[in-house]
Every structure is written in C-alpha cells, then in structure tokens.
C-alpha cells in the first residue's frame, strides 16, 4: 500500500495536474493578485507597527503587562485568514465560472482530462496559492512567539487549521462556480453565501477549536480538530464530486460521483456516530447522523425525479454485464429509477443500521429513547411527503405532455409545490386557531411533521400519499427497470455494422501540391 502510494506521489510529481499548472501560470501573471499580496503584506506590517505603538503607549502610561504574543498572533492570523478567505475562493470561483463556457468545457472534454481532474486542478491551484500567501505571512506569525504568550505548536496548529478552512471555502467556491446559472444570479447568491461564510466561519473555527481560549493548543483543541476535520473533509469530497458532476458532459454518468461519495460519507459517518455513541453512551451523534441521512435521502429524491428516464449508450456501455453487478450498479447510475433506488436503500438502511448498531454497542436492546424515536418518526413523515410530492410532479411531467417543462426542473417544482401547500395550510391553520382556539391538523403540510398531537394522522396521510404516488408511477418505473435490465452492451461494439460505401479516396484535393 505504501509502495502504491509512493508510486502515485512520484507519478503526480512527474506529471502534475495540467489545470493546476495553467492556473498557477495565470496567477503569476496576474497583476491584481500580486497587488493583493503586497497589500496583505502591508496590512501585516502595519498591524505589527500599530500593535507595537499601542503597547508602547500602554507601557508608558503604566498599563498592563508587557505585550502578549497571543494577542498579536490573533490579529495577524485574523488579517491573513480574512484576506485569504476574501481573495482565494473568489478568484478560483470567478475563473472557473468564466471558463465554464460551452467552448471552454468542450475543449477540455475532448482531451484526456476527466471532470474530476479539472475540478481537482482548480482546487490544487487555490490551495497552492493560499499556501503561497500563508508562506509569505509565516515569518510574521512566527515572530509572535518571540513576544511570548503563545507557543510554536499552537501557532502551527491554528495556522494550519485556518489554512484548511480557506481550502474548504475554495472548494465550496469552485462548486459554486460550476453551477449552471446566470452571472447576475451567481453574483447575488455568491455575495450572500460569501458574507455568511466570512462572518460565521472564524467564530465557528475558534469556538470549535478553543472553546474561547486562544493561548495553547491543548487536549480540547485537538478534540475539536478531530471533530472538525472529518466534517471538513467530507464536505470537501462531496463538493468536489458535485462540481465534477456539474461539468460532466450530458452523456456521462453524472450521478455516479455524487451518489458514491455520499454513500461513502453516509456509511463512514454512521460508523463514527455509532462508535462515539458507544464511547460516550449517548445518542446525540446518532441523532445528528439521522438528520444527515434524512437530508441526503430527501435531496436525492428531489434530484432523482429530474433525471433522465433511460440511460444513454455511453452509460449503458459502462454498466457491468453480470446480472447481479448490473443490479448493484443501478443506484449509482444516472436516471430516475437509480436515484429513487439509492434514496430507498439509504432510507431503509438508516433506521436498521441505527437500531442494530445501538443494540450491538450497548450489549442489549437498542437504546434509542422516546425522544429519538419521535424524531425518527418526524424525519420519516417528511421523507414520505417528499416521495409523494416529487413523484407526483414526475407523474404529471410524464403524463401530460402539453404542459411539458424541462425534466431537470422536476425537483425544483416539487420543492415549490411543498412550499406552496405548506404555506397555504399554515395560514389556514393559523386563521382557524385564532378563531376557535383549537389547533388544526394540517395533513400534507411537511413543515408541521413534528407536531406530536397529530403524529399518527400525519404518518397515515404521508404514507398513503407516498403509496399513491408510487402506484401511479409504478408502470413507468417498471418500464425503466426493464429497459435498464435488458440494455446489455453489445459484445461486438468495436466492430461496426455494415456501412454505406465511403466517399471515394481523393484524387484531386483542389490542386494541392505533390
């Protein structure tokens, strides 16, 4: 394994990602970015100067103790972190969005580069650029050690942690740049998300890592890192897979990277939640995993109904020929039925794994208390409603061709339908309650699925709604399944069928010499 890893690293060193190289070459040539780098250096030097001045004044006035390196480190790291968070992700996203023109992607898709390699190249370039900036700022950060109040491992720890957040934000921005939407909408959403990230991330980072104490990286800090790092890595993997899927040619199996990554994350996070539950003897992590699973299932259901109904020749060729393997490949194959099966499998396995796992780690019956069972019930009702709404939209789309909209909008329309029905019923419920003082049951309203008072009724309505929607779509889904099952790739694919006679060879190509 180590030898394989070594070979891979050596291969990567011999043939670095071409997209990364191109990006870095463009970066070196960019005057704006070099200017920003100089500005950052100026800000760091100024911060040290102002801090020294303020400390000097403080000392002269007989103030507190001599300058604290931890304070200066916090200021410098703040400047560096915010500076990088402003520049690197925006730079990467803007470039990717600009290059996401049909021609730009077409040219890349005619090369040997995979969509994953393109996205990775962009991320690596952002990471190297951020590393370059951090490298330039490193001496300033190390200087704070000489002022005392902070040790070198702590400096290293926080610097690396903040760098990791910058890289994560860069991956998020690249995903955002890969989204197929208009420039205005992209800028609008980007500003909103960017501002939120900018203000929320540092607080979360410091909160998670230090629980308010910035001085020395202690056991709490390392525990915080242990929690934060897997989340960050999982988010990065998912964003990378999603970005790659977004730039894949329409003929490719776009669903595979996202569904595979999500399945791996789901399985690993489930195992981690069970492990933590066994060690800490509580169900908090399991509850968090259930929420994550529900979000994944609901998201996949909404995406699935917008997908194609039959796999194209390119996807068919990539499918295994063995019957069982072909069946197992279905949840990871682009298409409505594959997406629905993925969601169904995860929805079915989640409570089973959760309950069985809890029983195993507790050496007895499952330890999910009433609160968590209710919570699980709420998530179940919500998932059933989503099944109903999403399949209803898909049914209307397939049945009434006069009102045909692009199939990819099915998920969005289902969300719209859920919102409208929920809003109308919520308003009616509020009016009724005002008038009578008695809460009104709101079946079909997904947003009140957690109301314990009507839980049984909601469960029944959601179940019937989902069953009806499945029944309506069943013939269509069966047809999709049969088409998938019978689509055996041709064994003689490389041998073309008899062809029309080719054009005769050129005798005179318009007076070409020789």
């Amino acid at each position: 394994m180590i030898a394989t890893l070594g070979r891979r690293i050596a291969a990567a060193a011999r043939a670095p990602n071409p997209v990364m190289l191109k990006e870095l070459r463009q970066f070196v040539r960019s005057r704006a970015l070099i200017g920003l780098l100089l500005l950052l250096l100026l800000a760091l030097v100024s911060a040290i100067g102002f801090y020294a001045l303020a400390e000097g004044v403080n000392q002269a006035l007989g103030g507190g103790p001599k300058g604290d390196g931890a304070n200066l480190f916090a200021i410098l790291l703040g400047i560096l972190f915010y500076g990088c968070l402003l520049v690197v992700p925006i730079w990467c996203a803007a470039r990717f969005a600009a290059e996401r023109s049909p021609t730009g992607l077409d040219l890349l898709h005619t090369t040997a580069l995979t969509p994953g390699a393109i996205v990775r190249g962009k991320l690596y370039a952002g990471a190297v650029y951020a590393l370059f900036i951090y490298g330039v700022a490193a001496p300033f950060l190390a200087l704070t050690y000489l002022l005392r109040g902070i040790d070198l491992p702590t400096i290293l720890f926080y610097t690396l942690a903040s760098y990791f957040v910058v890289v994560l934000a860069t991956q998020g921005a690249i995903f955002f740049g890969a989204l197929p939407m208009s420039k205005v909408f992209r800028i609008l959403v980007g500003v909103i998300i960017g501002l939120q990230t900018l203000f929320a991330l540092p607080g979360i980072l410091i909160g998670v890592l230090t629980e308010g104490d910035l001085g020395a990286a202690d056991a709490k800090t390392w525990r915080g890192l242990l929690v934060a790092l897997p989340f960050g890595l999982a988010a990065m993997a998912l964003l990378q897979a999603a970005a790659a899927a977004l730039i894949m040619p329409p003929a490719a199996n776009r669903a595979r990277p996202v569904r595979t990554t999500l399945a791996v994350i789901w399985a690993l996070s489930g195992a981690a939640a069970l492990l933590r539950g066994a060690i800490a003897s509580d169900s908090d992590s399991l509850a968090a995993w259930l929420i994550f699973s529900a979000v994944a299932v609901i998201g996949m259901l909404l995406l699935a109904v917008g997908e194609r109904t039959t796999p194209g020749p390119r996807i068919r060729e990539s499918l295994p020929r063995h019957r069982l393997r072909r069946l197992l490949a279905l949840p990871f194959t682009s298409g409505e039925i594959g997406g629905l099966l993925w969601a169904l499998a995860v929805a079915a396995l989640t409570p089973i794994v959760g309950l069985a796992g809890t029983a195993i780690v507790s050496n007895g019956p499952p330890r999910l208390d009433q609160q968590y069972l209710e919570f699980l019930g709420t998530l179940g009702i919500m998932a059933l409603y989503v099944v109903g709404y999403a399949l209803t939209v898909s049914f209307i789309h397939s049945r009434f061709s006069k009102f045909r909209w692009p199939r990819r909008l099915n998920g969005l329309l289902a969300v719209g339908l859920i919102t409208i029905v929920g809003a109308v019923l919520s308003i009616l419920g509020a009016v009724r309650e005002d008038a009578t003082g008695v809460p009104m049951a709101q079946p079909m309203n997904i947003f009140v699925s957690g109301q314990t008072r009507f839980r049984t009724q909601y469960f029944a309505v959601a179940g019937i709604f989902a069953a009806l929607a499945v029944a309506l779509n069943l013939p269509r889904l069966v047809r999709q399944w049969k088409a998938y099952r019978s689509d055996a790739p041709a064994d003689s694919a490389s041998v073309a069928p008899p062809a029309p006679p080719p054009l005769p060879p050129a005798r005179n190509s318009g007076g070409a010499p020789g």
Partner: protein, 309 residues
C-alpha cells in the same frame, strides 16, 4: 483512418437536429460539410467529437463507436470549435503546453510535439505572446495548433474560416492542404463555399438534419445538375447559337452568359463531341468549347431549399 456515420439521429426535445444521416470517408481527404444555418452540422461534429450523444445511430472512427469508446476516440481526433480559445492571459506556448499535458504527453515527447505544431503553424514568432494580443487569424492558427498537438488522425473543424480576413483564410487553407497531404483526414464545416470548393475533394450536404447529397464534388455537381455544363463561345452570332442549343435534343437550360452560351448536356463525351461537330457543320465559328466545373455554391443552391428547422 475511416470515418463512418450511420443513421445518426439527435433530438433536442422535439427538435430533430440530425435525422438519420449516413455517410463515410477515408484518410487523406478534406471533406466539406455544408448546410444552411440550423441544418445540424455543429451537432454532427459535436457527436463525432464525443461531446454529444446521439439519440439513435452511431458514428465510427476506424471502426470504433464514438458513443461507446469516447476516451479512445478523443486521442484520434482534434476538434476546432467555431469559437476562439479562451485563457486569454496565457502565452501561445503555455496554451499548447496545457493541452499537450491534458492529452497525457510528458517530457521530451511533449516538448517535441509543441515545437512541431509551432513550426507547422508558423507560430514561432508569436510563441511568447499572450492570446489576447493576437489577431483573430492568429488565434485560429493557435486553435489549429492546439487541435494538432496530440497528433490526431482526424481533424474536425467547425466554421474555421468565419471572421477571418482573406490572408488568414488563404493561410488556413494552405495549412489544411498540407495536413491532408500528410495523410490527415479533415472534416470541415463552412459557410464559405468558395473556400471549400478549392479545398475539398468530397462534400456532404445536409439540410434540416437530413442528408441531401454526398460524394466527390464534381459527381455531386453532375448529379444535382442532371448533366454536365458546358460553355460555348462563338466568334459571332451568339443569339443564333443559343436558339440552336435550345432546340438540341440532349441540351437543357441553354442561355447566354456574357459573350458565351451556357448549356447542360445529357450523355457522355461522345454526345458533347456530336454537338460540337454539328455546330461547326452549321457554320458557327466556335472560339471555345469547354466543360464547366460546378462550384459548391451551385451544388448547394441546387440541392437545398433554404429551409431551417
């Protein structure tokens, strides 16, 4: 290198962009791909370039399906789309280096490949210029160099001459001729039919997604005209000559064109010789009697109806 397109069909929603077209060609040819706007040329080229998937039918490059083996096919084709390259702030050599790496070329092979295409496309003086500093013609040459950097056997060019000035067009034409002489197969779509006439040995004409004609240019011309065209220039009595030609049994569409008469003749060379002999016997002083090579423009106008989808 053999290229075969078999019953290729592509639907975009309810629009049939390509509707069951079939044709084929072999290496060393420049094949023109002609059709009105919206005829399905770009869609066909994109399918051949593995960028689109056909709704039905398939295309084969050396017997390998473009839908089933896109990765292998990509190494065999160079695609020049109708739009100019992006990455405006990279130099010519960096741009070519990027695509050479993207095709998996490394070390000396990559350096040699870049040098070869720079030399072939005569980009030596521009190698360190950024793309945004180049004229449209120069950028088109860079685009061609990019498409050639991995040494493909088949070049697919979508409207490469559009927007180019006459000099750039001539230079592009010369480059394509040289490539054909080196055994490359070139499939080129263009609206500039006079350019194609001079370059192409064969032509594929489509309209509304359907194949209208395909074959060698002069054969297609003959088929579409229903016979061969001749120009007859008399020393005098042009009107009498036209009247005579109108009555000649194997002649059609006789008309005066400047100082000569044009006529389409059915039959072979014997029939043409018989007509010439009869003209002389009747006392016409014939200064010139020559067959006319129909241009692609004539063929295009005669076989297409100008419909768009």
């Amino acid at each position: 290198m053999k290229v075969r397109v078999e019953r290729l069909t592509k639907h975009f929603g309810r629009t049939r962009a390509v509707d069951g077209i079939s044709f084929g060609f072999e290496s060393g040819q420049i094949v023109g791909f002609v059709g009105p706007n919206g005829a399905g040329k770009t869609t066909t080229l994109r399918i051949l370039a593995t960028l689109e998937e056909p709704t039905a039918g398939d295309a084969f490059v050396d017997g390998r399906s473009v839908t089933q083996y896109p990765e292998e096919i990509r190494r065999e084709i160079g695609f020049v789309p109708d739009e100019m390259p992006i990455y405006a702030d990279t130099t010519v050599v960096e741009y070519l280096d990027f695509f050479a790496r993207a095709f998996g070329l490394s070390g000396r092979r990559r350096t040699a490949a870049i040098e070869n295409v720079v030399e072939f496309t005569n980009l030596g003086d521009l190698r360190d210029k950024t793309l945004n500093a180049l004229s449209r013609g120069m950028r088109q040459r860079v685009s061609l160099a990019r498409a050639l950097v991995h040494d493909p056997s088949l070049l697919l060019l979508d409207e490469p001459a559009s927007g180019l000035d006459p000099r750039a067009r001539i230079e592009l034409r010369e480059l394509l001729r040289q490539l054909a002489e080196r055994g490359r197969t070139i499939f080129i779509s263009s609206h500039i039919l006079t350019e194609l006439t001079e370059m192409c040995a064969s032509v594929v004409i489509i309209e509304k997604g359907r194949l209208v004609e395909s074959g060698k240019v002069h054969e297609v011309a003959r088929r579409s005209a229903g016979g061969r065209s001749f120009a007859v220039r008399p020393v005098e009595r042009l009107d009498d000559l036209v009247r005579f030609l109108l009555e000649w049994p194997t002649a059609r569409n006789a008309r005066a064109a400047g100082r000569e008469a044009r006529v389409e003749l059915e039959g072979d060379d014997r029939d043409a010789a018989a007509l010439l002999a009869e003209l002389i016997r009747r006392g016409f002083s014939i200064a010139e009697f020559r067959p006319l090579q129909a241009g692609l423009e004539d063929v295009f106008l005669s076989v297409t109806k100008g419909d768009v989808q």
